[in-house]
């Protein structure tokens, strides 16, 4: 095991510890001493996290004071920390630069407060979304996001990764329903923002900044969510089309009401296109919407079992491509043409009302860079591309945020410096002045 840091390209890095003997000669001893202090600080034994660049020591403190001690120790010794929950989204945004310690919140679990009569729930960040959902259901409530991997996804991980769920269309972005949070800064300070109220504009919303920041600003240790009414009924409406164009048009015309369905998706099936509209609401609302859809759509079929329940989280390398909903049919046409030309990858789930489509890569690992560069040809049409679980070559820190150079470098796009990126860097420095937290790439 090493503590000198494992860079993304697999090379060991030398990050001298506070002992002053962290060079080549005394490194092993300093590393061992550091690991012992790390264990003592966390009050937990170390394990190992396998990153693509190599193994790193991982610690999972049992309580907030242990987590604070770990951050304080690492910050004081110049060690770089990768925060994570159970690590299910590490492939979404790979760490940039070396990682010395992985800090997992998976043992910071438990419901802190559940107020069904007030529609709020608060939990420690290592609590799984499945446990949160089960607790909320006891009071007739439901949480968002609704994830296929809720059993393994933690609250903190889901919020940090900015992950939305199968209910995005009806509920909107999960960050809109985070009422408040407690965060650990890298000097070990515990801070809070927001509260446990459904409406509140007191102070700045730090909890909004950390949603989607991939742990690059602070460690989320607790969050409060707004609860919704648990749907009493669900139904799935299916319609088959010959092509995407009429399917997109129908989806946009009938899949977005004042109260939207939970999910509206399209996918290729048996030479045609399958439109699925999932309704989840009160019995009266589901019946009413279902009846209306049967009136408006060509030959719909209704199933009373939601397909969402059976879906699993996609773990293949995939590109999430977004555009405005009105351009969806055209985007899908371009994607299918492009994947045909590239000879690897195929169109996955299309969410027309959200303006989002998934392209799954199914070629040889070595071909993915060429495939990704090919997909970039969609960008001039206004499409935005984010990769998930994409095997990557080394990602160095100069590439990451605010790099001055722009253009193509070895097949990778270099992030252009913008006012927003420069501002994001200043915010990172404000909350983590020792640059202890490892930044993660935004998937660009």
């Amino acid at each position: 095991m090493m503590a000198g840091g494992n860079s993304a390209d697999g090379k060991r890095t030398d990050r001298s510890g506070a002992d002053g003997d962290g060079g080549d000669r005394g490194g092993a001893t300093a590393d061992e001493r550091f690991l012992a202090r790390l264990e003592a600080a966390a009050g937990a034994t170390l394990s190992t996290l396998e990153l693509p660049a190599g193994p790193v020591p991982m610690v999972a403190p049992e309580d907030l004071s242990g987590a604070a001690e770990v951050l304080r120790l690492c910050s004081g010794e110049g060690r770089r920390v990768l925060p994570l929950g159970r690590g299910t989204k590490l492939g979404w945004a790979p760490p940039i630069g070396p990682v010395d310690v992985a800090l997992s919140t998976r043992r910071l679990t438990g419901i802190v407060a559940h107020e069904p009569a007030d529609g709020t729930i608060t939990a420690l960040s290592g609590t799984t979304l499945a446990e949160l959902a089960a607790t909320a259901a006891l009071g007739g409530g439901a949480i968002t996001p609704l994830l296929p991997d809720a059993v393994s996804a933690t609250l903190g991980g889901a919020l940090s990764s900015g992950q939305d769920g199968l209910d995005r269309l009806r509920r909107g972005a999960p960050r809109d329903h985070v009422l408040g949070a407690r965060l650990l800064l890298t000097d070990g300070t515990l801070v809070k923002s927001g509260g446990r109220l459904v409406k509140n504009v007191t102070g700045y919303d730090l909890h909004r900044l950390v949603c989607g920041a991939h742990g690059g600003l602070a460690l989320i240790v607790e969050a409060s969510l707004r609860l919704f009414s648990e749907p009493r009924a669900t139904a799935l409406i299916r319609v088959r089309y010959d092509d995407f164009e009429p399917a997109c048009a129908d989806a946009l015309a009938h899949g977005r009401g004042a109260d939207s369905p939970r999910r509206v998706t399209l996918r290729r099936e048996a030479g045609g296109v399958l439109l699925e509209i999932e309704l989840a609401a009160s019995c009266v609302e589901v019946d009413e919407q279902s009846t209306a859809l049967h009136r408006k759509l060509p030959s719909p079929e209704r199933l009373d079992l939601p397909a969402s329940a059976a879906r699993t989280e996609d773990t293949a390398a995939r590109a999430i491509i977004t555009t405005r909903p009105a351009r969806m049919a055209s985007l899908v046409r371009s994607i299918e043409q492009l994947t045909g030309e590239l000879g690897s990858g195929h169109l996955g789930l299309v969410e027309p009302c959200l303006g989002r489509a998934t392209v799954r890569f199914d070629g040889e690992a070595g071909e993915i860079e060429r495939f990704a560069a090919g997909l970039n040809r969609l960008e001039p049409t206004g499409a935005r591309i984010q990769w998930r679980d994409r095997p990557r070559p080394a990602v160095d820190s100069a590439w990451a945020y605010g790099a001055a150079e722009t253009g193509e470098t070895e097949g990778r796009r270099v992030v252009e410096r913008t006012a927003g990126v420069a501002l994001a860097n200043r915010i990172r420095r404000a909350l983590d002045p020792t640059s202890t937290l490892v930044p993660r790439s935004g998937g660009a």
């Binding site: 900015g162 939305d164 960050r175 007191t202 102070g203 700045y204 690059g216 004042a258 109260d259 998937g443």
Partner: protein
């Protein structure tokens, strides 16, 4: 103010875009919180983002404090000028830049009035959902600054949920263009952070929002407005708590008390509220016909269980509009009762409505103040309105004491200091009741990342003094400020 700076600003925005004479400046001395006023040295009115950026760069070079202002309808002193500073008003930025009925968003300049966007959206069967009571006057830029709410935010959420993008001029004059509506923050434009979301509710302390991209939603198929009459305010509060506990979801749940009803009925906003009632509950139900009927059926017995009677349904759009005009005109109608109105704003858990409302009544009775209560009951967002005369020093003292005691009670039951009006200057020092010094230090650090020199809306939103000093100056009452 230096003449050369005034000349430079005039060259950017034209002579009509700079106000420097004392008489005209007096119109900008305060916002809706008339208790706090200060004269700015200058008011500048740019017409677009480019002009605004050039203005901000000039003020940055001159190191002048800046206060952003929409329509000045805020109620916490957030738009009150600072001495020796410049107010940048968005009053000339009133263009609807784009309305896309297919992708359901609008891009507007910050000075567009809230209701004007809603009217434009209505032509396409859409609407802009956040509807503050001041929506006929308040601007969308101001709404963004305060993360404004309104009655229908109970179902649709406050402004933050409707902002899809924005353009802001940062304190150094750099333009942050995040106007394209995206599902998630664009990593290449924001480093992956939700910068647009963070600017919402930042009360003009992080920069000037010049354009906003806003989500529009379909107008509901059916809307039913219900008015329930209660013999007690407690009964109205309890019926709301039960509706929330039963997961019923009207789109708006509002309560008005007797004094408010009397004031409304004696004003041009007269809505037909029964003046003998101690409280009325105003509800909007939205959705398909069957859903609305089902909701109505479930609400009826809850109202009855808590003493409500005479549950009326608006029979026409005109009647519905009148009922809501009464509610939205309530603050204005209070002008008949007293020369000044202190509009408090706090949030409590919805299970504590009755307890806190009763406390508010008791505090005002003790201090011999007239209290009118009107509030967004569904969100637990209270607006105790206290009548006073700002020319009477003792009146002002008692009003401020009442405000303090009401806020302390809200915090003590797990509530917050403000639900939609913001912290501004009014509640700046109260923040130490809701947060620790460490919390505020972290917020301050991020604020400095936007505005390192602290020139934007200085002295607002965060306490200037340390919490320790503030606590020492005014010890908290027992039971306040739990963590």
């Amino acid at each position: 103010m230096r003449e050369d700076l005034i000349g430079e600003l005039r060259a950017i925005v034209g002579a009509r875009g700079v106000i420097a004479d004392a008489t005209r400046l007096s119109a900008y001395e305060s916002d809706g919180l008339a208790l706090l006023s200060e004269q700015a040295d200058l008011v500048v009115l740019p017409r677009d983002t480019d002009e605004a950026a050039r203005v901000v760069r000039a003020l940055h070079r001159a190191q002048v404090p800046v206060v952003a202002r929409g329509a000045g309808t805020g109620l916490a002193g957030g738009a009150r000028p600072v001495a020796g500073g410049v107010v940048i008003s968005t009053a000339r930025m009133r263009d609807l830049l784009e309305l896309d009925p297919v992708d359901r968003f609008a891009r507007v300049q910050a000075g567009v009035v809230n209701v004007d966007l809603d009217r434009a959206a209505a032509e396409h069967g859409l609407r802009y959902a956040p509807d503050p009571s001041s929506q006929a006057a308040c601007t969308l830029g101001g709404n963004v600054a305060n993360n404004s709410g309104g009655p229908h935010c109970f179902k649709h959420g406050a402004t933050a949920r409707h902002v899809l993008g924005l353009v802001a001029v940062l304190p150094d004059g750099e333009v942050l263009d995040l106007s394209e509506p995206t599902l998630e923050p664009d990593a290449e434009a924001t480093g992956g952070l939700d910068l647009a979301g963070y600017l919402v509710g930042s009360e003009g302390t992080l920069g000037l929002v010049t354009e906003v991209t806003l989500r529009l939603v379909p107008r509901p198929e059916v809307v039913e407005t219900l008015l329930a009459v209660f013999p007690t305010l407690d009964g109205a509060c309890d019926s709301v708590s039960e509706m929330i506990a039963e997961h019923l979801e009207p789109s708006a749940i509002e309560i008005l008390d007797r004094l408010t009803i009397e004031a409304v009925e004696a004003s041009v906003f007269a809505a037909g509220y029964p003046t003998t009632a101690e409280a009325v509950l105003l509800l909007d139900l939205e959705g398909g016909r069957a859903l609305v009927e089902d909701l109505s059926r479930q609400i009826e017995p809850i109202v009855a269980r808590h003493g409500g009677f005479d549950l009326r349904r608006a029979r026409s759009d005109a009647e519905r509009a009148a009922l809501w005009a009464g509610r939205k005109g309530a603050f204005g109608a209070m002008g008949r009762v007293a020369p000044d109105l202190y509009v408090a704003d706090a949030v409590v858990p919805r299970t504590k409505l009755r307890e806190v409302v009763a406390h508010t009544v008791e505090v005002c009775r003790e201090l011999n103040l007239r209290l009118a209560t009107v509030f967004h009951a569904g969100d637990g967002n209270l607006h105790p309105n206290i009548c006073y005369d700002r020319r009477d020093a003792d009146d002002v003292r008692r009003v401020l004491e009442a405000g303090d005691r009401i806020l302390e009670k809200c915090i003590a039951v797990g509530g917050s200091l403000t639900g939609e009006h913001g912290v501004g200057l009014e509640k700046r020092d109260h923040l130490c009741q809701a947060f620790d010094q460490a919390d505020l230090d972290a917020m301050g650090a991020v604020r400095r990342a936007f505005d390192p020199e602290g020139r934007w809306n200085p002295g607002k939103t965060l306490p200037v003094r340390a919490c320790l000093e503030l606590h020492a100056a005014r010890p908290l009452r027992a039971g306040a400020a739990p963590r």
